[in-house]
C-alpha cells in the first residue's frame, strides 16, 4: 500500500467516525478499544473468479502496461508483486483456494446419486477405498469380481462403441463435465449412425481398466471419460482415452487421448462432438493411438 492509499483509508475511517458522532456516547464507551466491530451486509468477492492472466499486482511498475500484455501469454501466476521476499496476501489465498479445489477433487468420491441421474450404473475396481486407489495403481486397472458379473449381465454385447466414465484423479471433473460431454458424444455418434453400448461408471478406475472392459464387452472401440490429475489452474479437467480393440497388456501408445476438457479448456459439449468424430475415423481406419493419423 502506498502513502496515498493509506491516506485515503485514514480519511475514510475518520469520515466514518465523524458520521457515527451522533450516536449515544454510551455506545462508544462500551467498546473495549477502538471502533466496535459490527457484522455488515454484503459479500466479499469470490477470489477464485480472478483471472490470473490479467491480474497484475506489482506496485508502480516501470512499464506495467507492456508487462501486463506480455504476461497475458502465460497461464501462470506472474505479475504478483511481493511483500518483502514473500508473496502478497491475495495471490497466496488464491493459490490456497486453487489447491483446496484440487485436493477436494482428488480425495472426495463422486456423488453416487449424481452418477445415477446421468443414467449410469456403478461398478468398482479392485480398490476398496481412495487410499488404496492412490497407492495401488495396479488394483485400479482391474475390475472387481462383482463388477465383471454386473457388466456381463447389464451391458449390450459386442457394441460398436463402448463408452464409460471413470473418476480417475478428479471426482470434480466428473460432476463438471459429464452432463454436457456424455450427451454431446452420444449425439455425435448418433449423427454418424454409430451403434453405442450401455454406458456405466467405474469407481476408482485407472485408464488401464479400459482394456479389461474392452475384452469383456467385445466393443470395437472403447472410450473412457476420466478425471485428470488436477492442477492449480483447474481441478475439473477431464480426458478421453480411446482405443480400437483394446486388449489387456497392449502398449500404451495404442490409446488416442483428448485432454484438457473443461469449461476453460475445450468446452465439454464441443469436446463430445469432437470425440465422436475421432471414433468415427478410428472405426474407418481400424486403428488408434500412434497408429492412427488424425
Amino acid at each position: 500500500m502506498n502513502e496515498k492509499d493509506l491516506r485515503t483509508i485514514i480519511e475514510q475511517v475518520l469520515a466514518e467516525m465523524n458520521a457515527g458522532g451522533s450516536a449515544p456516547a454510551a455506545a462508544c464507551c462500551a467498546a473495549p478499544a477502538g471502533e466496535a466491530s459490527q457484522v455488515e451486509e454484503g459479500c466479499i468477492p469470490d477470489i477464485t473468479e480472478i483471472d490470473i492472466r490479467t491480474q497484475y499486482l506489482v506496485e508502480e511498475p516501470e512499464n506495467g502496461e507492456e508487462y501486463a500484455e506480455l504476461k497475458f501469454n502465460a497461464p501462470c501466476r506472474l505479475g504478483i508483486g511481493k511483500a518483502g521476499a514473500r508473496y502478497k496476501t491475495l495471490p497466496q489465498l488464491e493459490f490456497r483456494a486453487a489447491h483446496s479445489a484440487a485436493q477436494d477433487a482428488v480425495f472426495n468420491d463422486v456423488d453416487e446419486e449424481f452418477v445415477k441421474a446421468q443414467g449410469l450404473f456403478i461398478v468398482q475396481t479392485q480398490c476398496d477405498c481412495k487410499d488404496t486407489y492412490l497407492t495401488r495403481p495396479d488394483l485400479g486397472r482391474k475390475l472387481s469380481a462383482e463388477a465383471v458379473a454386473t457388466l456381463k449381465e447389464k451391458c449390450k454385447k459386442n457394441p460398436t462403441v463402448q463408452i464409460y466414465v471413470a473418476d480417475g484423479l478428479s471426482s470434480a471433473s466428473v460432476a463438471a463435465n459429464i452432463p454436457d460431454l456424455l450427451p454431446a458424444l452420444l449425439q455425435g455418434l448418433q449423427s454418424f449412425k454409430i451403434d453405442v453400448g450401455t454406458p456405466f461408471f467405474v469407481k476408482y478406475g485407472r485408464v488401464g481398466v479400459m482394456d479389461e472392459i474392452s475384452e469383456l464387452t467385445g466393443a470395437d472401440v472403447t472410450c473412457t471419460l476420466i478425471g485428470e490429475r488436477p492442477g492449480l489452474i483447474t481441478a475439473e479437467s477431464m480426458s478421453a482415452y480411446i482405443a480400437y480393440k483394446a486388449t489387456v497388456g497392449m502398449p500404451e501408445a495404442r490409446r488416442t487421448v483428448v485432454s484438457n476438457i473443461h469449461r476453460a479448456g475445450t468446452i465439454p459439449a464441443e469436446a463430445g462432438a469432437h470425440i465422436a468424430e475421432i471414433i468415427k475415423i478410428m472405426l474407418e481406419k481400424k486403428a488408434s493411438g500412434t497408429d492412427l493419423k488424425l
Binding site: 516501470e62 512499464n63 506495467g64 508487462y67 497461464p75 504478483i80 508473496y87 490429475r229 492449480l232
Partner: protein
C-alpha cells in the same frame, strides 16, 4: 556378515543384503508397492540393527544389479579409488555414520572418502541417519562445480528458474524468465521443460534463452530439458547454443533404457558440449533423478528406491555434472505417500548426492493427489538450505502450469537467502545489484518488477 538379530526377544532373520537394505528404509509407499518394505515398525528397526553391523565391504560386494548385467553398476564400481576404499571397507555402517558425524571429520576428509564409496555404501549409511543427522552431515559437505559460473561456494544458495509454458509460447516463457530474474531466481540455470520436444522447437527455445541472457548480460547458464540426443541434434543441425546438456537418469541400465539413454549417449553429449558448446565448463552435465522411477519402469531388480536413487548419483558422478537434482515429489503417492515421506526423501537424496560428490539440488515438490501442501514444501526447502543444498527450483508462485505440480516459487530462494544470510552466485549477485533488484543481498522494492526488462 550376520543377517539375523533379536528385538524384544523376537528373532528377525533376513535372507539377503537386499532385504536388509529394503526393510531398513524409513516407510515409503513405493517400497510397499514393490512388496519389499518392512512389515512392521519393529522389523524396520531390526533391519537397521543388522545393517549397522554390515561393513562397507559387504555393501560394495552386494550391488543392486550384478556387475556383468548392468552398466550403471560397472561405472560405479570402476570409478572407485581402491586405495581410499581400502581405508574404509572394514568400517561397519554404524561406525561410518559416526565417522561422518564426528567433529573430527572435516569437509575435506568426506570429499576424500567419497571417491571410495559405492552407491550401496552411500545408501546404507543414509538408512541409519535421522532427518537431523542427514542435515547435520550434509551441511559439512560442499561440492562446487563450474559451468559459466561456480555453484556451491560456501555462503551461496542458488535456484533454477523454470519458466515452463503449456504451449512453449515464447512470449509467455520470457514473461516468466523476467519475473524470476527480478526476484533473484536463475543463478543455477534457466531451464525450460519443453512441451514440444522436436529438435526444431528445442533449438528455437535454446536460442531464445541465449539471446535474452546475452542481451541482459546475465551471468548464468541455460538449458532446455529435452532428451540428450535432441539437444545435441539441435546444436549440430541448427547451431543451438548449449551451455550444458540435460538428461533424466535412473539407477539401473534397464531404468535408463526406459528413458532411452545409455552411458555412451551421455558421454557423447558431454564431449559435444565440451568441444562445441557455449559455456566455460568443465562441468557441463545436468541430471534429474527421483526415487521411484526405477520401480515405475520395473527396473529396480527387487531393490528399494533409496538404494536405486543412490545409484543415479553414482552414475552422475562419472560425468562430473554441474547440476543434479532430485525431483522429489513428482512421481505420486504410490511412491512417496505424503509430506512426511517427501521430506524424508528430499533430505536423503540431498545427503546421498553430496556424499557421492556431486553438486546437488532439489526440486522440492508435490502433486495434487499427494497428501502435501505448500507449507510442507516450504518446510523441506528450509531444511535443505540448512543442510547446505546448492539450489532449489523456482516457478511462478510455486505453481508449474505445464507440469501440473507445485514446487518452490520464485520468491523462495530470496527469502531463504535472507533468513540464512546467504547470497546468490557472486557474479549473479552483482548483476542483481546492477539491475537494482537487490542491495547487499536483500531484495529492493524494485525486485519483482519484471517490466524493467521492457525498458525501451
Amino acid at each position: 556378515m550376520i543377517l539375523k538379530t533379536k528385538l524384544f526377544g523376537h528373532v528377525y532373520e533376513f535372507k539377503s543384503v537386499r532385504e536388509v537394505m529394503a526393510k531398513a528404509n524409513e516407510e515409503k509407499s513405493g517400497d510397499k508397492l514393490a512388496g519389499i518394505a518392512a512389515e512392521t515398525a519393529e522389523e524396520r528397526v531390526a533391519a537397521k540393527v543388522v545393517l549397522s553391523h554390515l561393513t562397507l565391504n559387504d555393501l560394495r560386494n552386494n550391488p543392486a544389479v550384478p556387475y556383468e548385467e548392468d552398466e550403471v553398476t560397472r561405472i560405479i564400481q570402476d570409478d572407485i579409488n581402491e586405495t581410499i576404499f581400502n581405508q574404509f571397507k572394514g568400517m561397519t555402517v554404524s561406525e561410518f555414520r559416526e565417522w561422518l558425524l564426528s567433529e573430527k571429520t572435516t569437509t575435506a576428509m568426506i570429499r576424500h572418502a567419497s571417491r571410495g564409496l559405492t552407491s550401496e555404501c552411500v545408501a546404507g549409511v543414509c538408512k541409519l541417519m535421522s532427518n537431523l543427522d542427514l542435515i547435520y552431515a550434509a551441511k559439512k559437505m560442499r561440492v562446487q562445480a563450474h559451468c559459466n559460473t561456480t555453484i556451491g561456494v560456501d555462503g551461496t544458495f542458488s535456484s533454477r528458474l523454470q519458466p515452463n509454458h503449456t504451449t512453449d509460447d515464447p512470449k509467455g516463457i520470457i514473461a516468466s524468465v523476467m519475473e524470476g530474474l527480478s526476484v533473484g531466481c536463475g543463478d543455477a540455470v534457466i531451464g525450460i521443460n519443453p512441451v514440444d520436444d522436436s529438435v526444431e522447437s528445442v533449438a528455437r527455445l535454446l536460442k531464445m534463452l541465449d539471446e535474452f541472457k546475452n542481451k541482459w548480460e546475465i551471468p548464468t547458464q541455460c538449458s532446455v530439458l529435452a532428451h540428450i540426443t535432441t539437444q545435441v541434434e539441435a546444436a549440430e543441425k541448427f547451431g543451438a547454443p548449449l551451455d550444458m546438456v540435460f538428461q533424466s537418469i535412473a539407477g539401473s541400465q534397464k531404468g535408463n533404457e526406459a528413458f532411452g539413454v545409455t552411458a555412451q549417449m551421455i558421454q557423447d553429449g558431454r564431449d559435444m558440449v565440451l568441444s562445441r558448446g557455449t559455456s566455460t565448463g568443465p562441468n557441463v552435465n545436468y541430471f534429474e533423478t527421483g526415487q521411484g522411477s526405477e520401480l515405475s519402469s520395473e527396473a529396480h531388480n527387487g531393490w528399494d528406491q533409496v538404494t536405486m536413487e543412490a545409484r543415479c548419483y553414482g552414475l552422475a558422478r562419472h560425468f562430473q555434472p554441474f547440476l543434479v537434482n532430485t525431483v522429489v515429489g513428482f512421481i505420486g503417492p504410490e511412491y512417496l505417500y505424503d509430506a512426511k515421506q517427501v521430506t524424508r526423501a528430499g533430505l536423503e537424496d540431498h545427503f546421498m548426492g553430496k556424499l557421492t560428490g556431486i553438486s546437488m539440488g532439489c526440486d522440492a515438490c508435490y502433486t495434487n493427489h499427494m497428501k502435501a501442501d505448500q507449507n510442507d514444501i516450504e518446510n523441506l526447502a528450509t531444511l535443505l538450505v540448512a543442510a547446505g543444498c546448492n539450489y532449489v527450483m523456482g516457478v511462478p508462485q510455486g505453481d508449474d502450469c505445464m507440469l501440473m505440480y507445485q514446487c518452490t516459487g520464485f520468491h523462495e530462494a530470496a527469502a531463504l537467502r535472507e533468513i540464512f544470510g546467504l547470497r546468490p552466485i557472486k557474479e549473479f549477485d552483482a548483476w542483481m545489484e546492477k539491475m537494482g533488484f537487490s542491495e547487499n543481498g536483500k531484495l529492493t522494492p524494485k525486485a519483482g518488477d519484471a517490466s524493467v526488462f521492457l525498458r525501451k
